[in-house]
């Protein structure tokens, strides 16, 4: 049973309004595959009927937004940004801010939490152990709850988590693994829609905004980057996903090379980069 054009238009309009995510036509199959489990759970006979009910019931509409945001993530995803974080960024900021400064880090689309916990593990093993705070945010209530709980399935801990870290920071609970309290206590979780005005927050030293801009159109990308820049320290660091860039979108950022990764810094700050060279 295929979705009608009308139903698809409702769904794509909804996720565009709520999450600024663009679903082009041709993605009908994706919508159906993602909504089928929801329809089954609610006891509706078909995806069409589920979509019809969602037009009247707010909770179901929220479920659609949750189901259509891609939550794919892994530990230390793509490695290089995390290596750059430990090898270039942490020493650079230690030098600029002095040893007692508490690093402020934002994981801005944290999905189920692998990104902020990865950062916390790296920090715990660095000179900054205990001297940092991480704010982890996402638009999805379900993801924020999962991230906060810090419980991961076997499949999830298999994804890129070095086994010495598994052994050090996780305990087995039934069929799952629980993140250690030592990591959780430096992270706070909050629901934030990046495509809307951001809540009041103190400026950040480092922002991880990875693998989320790709879902937005150009205008949204631009306004998201601008809002984030206004919440960054002038000599702060921004990390994007491998397929993302600020170039041609927001020239308030400058790309720098950090180890084998690219990072972005507010433009005025790059006059005397420590441990980084300019590129692009």
């Amino acid at each position: 049973m295929a979705l009608t054009q009308h139903e698809f238009a409702f769904v794509s309009g909804l996720v565009r309004r709520e999450a600024a995510i663009v679903l082009e036509s041709g993605k009908e199959y994706l919508v159906e595959a993602r909504l089928l489990p929801l329809a089954r759970r609610t006891g509706t006979v078909s995806v069409s009927e589920f979509v019809a009910r969602a037009q009247r019931e707010r909770v179901l509409a929220d479920q659609i937004v949750d189901a259509l945001t891609t939550n794919e993530t892994s530990w230390l995803r793509d490695r290089e940004p995390f290596t750059a974080f430990t090898d270039s960024v942490v020493p650079d900021l230690a030098e600029r801010r002095g040893p007692q400064h508490k690093l402020r880090i934002w994981s801005a689309a944290c999905s189920s939490g692998q990104e902020p916990y990865s950062l916390a593990m790296l920090l715990e093993e660095s000179v900054r152990a205990g001297k940092y705070e991480i704010i982890a945010t996402d638009i999805s209530t379900e993801m924020i709850e999962r991230a906060k709980a810090g419980r991961y399935s076997q499949l999830e801990v298999n994804r890129g988590l070095p086994v010495p870290m598994l052994v050090r920071y996780f305990d087995r609970v039934g069929t799952e693994w629980q993140v250690a309290e030592a990591l959780r206590r430096n992270i706070s979780f909050q629901k934030v829609n990046l495509a809307a005005p951001l809540p009041q927050m103190a400026p950040f030293d480092v922002v991880f905004l990875r693998n989320v801009l790709i879902y937005f159109d150009l205008e949204t990308k631009r306004s998201v980057l601008r809002r984030i820049r206004s919440l960054m320290r002038p000599d702060g660091w921004l990390f994007l996903g491998a397929a993302e860039t600020t170039i041609g979108i927001d020239d308030g950022f400058e790309r720098v090379v950090a180890g084998r990764a690219s990072a972005y810094r507010p433009r005025a700050a790059t006059t005397a980069p420590v441990g980084a060279t300019r590129k692009g």
Binding site: A33, L36, P37, S153, Q154, L155, R172, G174, T175, E176
Partner: protein
Amino acid sequence: MSAPTTDDLHAITEQVWLSYLDPEGVNPFLPSPDAPPSPHVIAAVSVTGAWEGHVVMTFSERAAELSSAALLGMGDDEVTPDDIADAVGELVNVIGGNVKSLLPDGSLLSLPHVVTGESAGNTRWPAAVEVCRLQGSWQDEKIAISVWTSKSAGEGA
């Protein structure tokens, strides 16, 4: 340590399916209360040591074919009886291994054992009681997974 539950079996099964039988996550194992008819293929591993019992999977003939083909990456008309024995044996081995991790330390897993055809329906687990069971269907074919403990060693586990 508490005994494994149907929820545990469900969590484990979901992960095995996502890993080997339903990588896209579009064709999950669907639990249902209806008891499956007499099975055609049975795969089992035994646990010995600190805890004694069995982890058992039962399949309809078609379910065994479909899951073996998916696991081995073959067409479902290509699988031989040997392929089926290897594949369902490995499925119960992985599920059994994960069940074992819920049991007291010092439990050991046997090699898998597979029975096919008429005799499958008559397989019994003497002196063992069922601890939990997950039954349902995959691609409209019946599959059940159950955990049994030997009465004598079951206490204190």
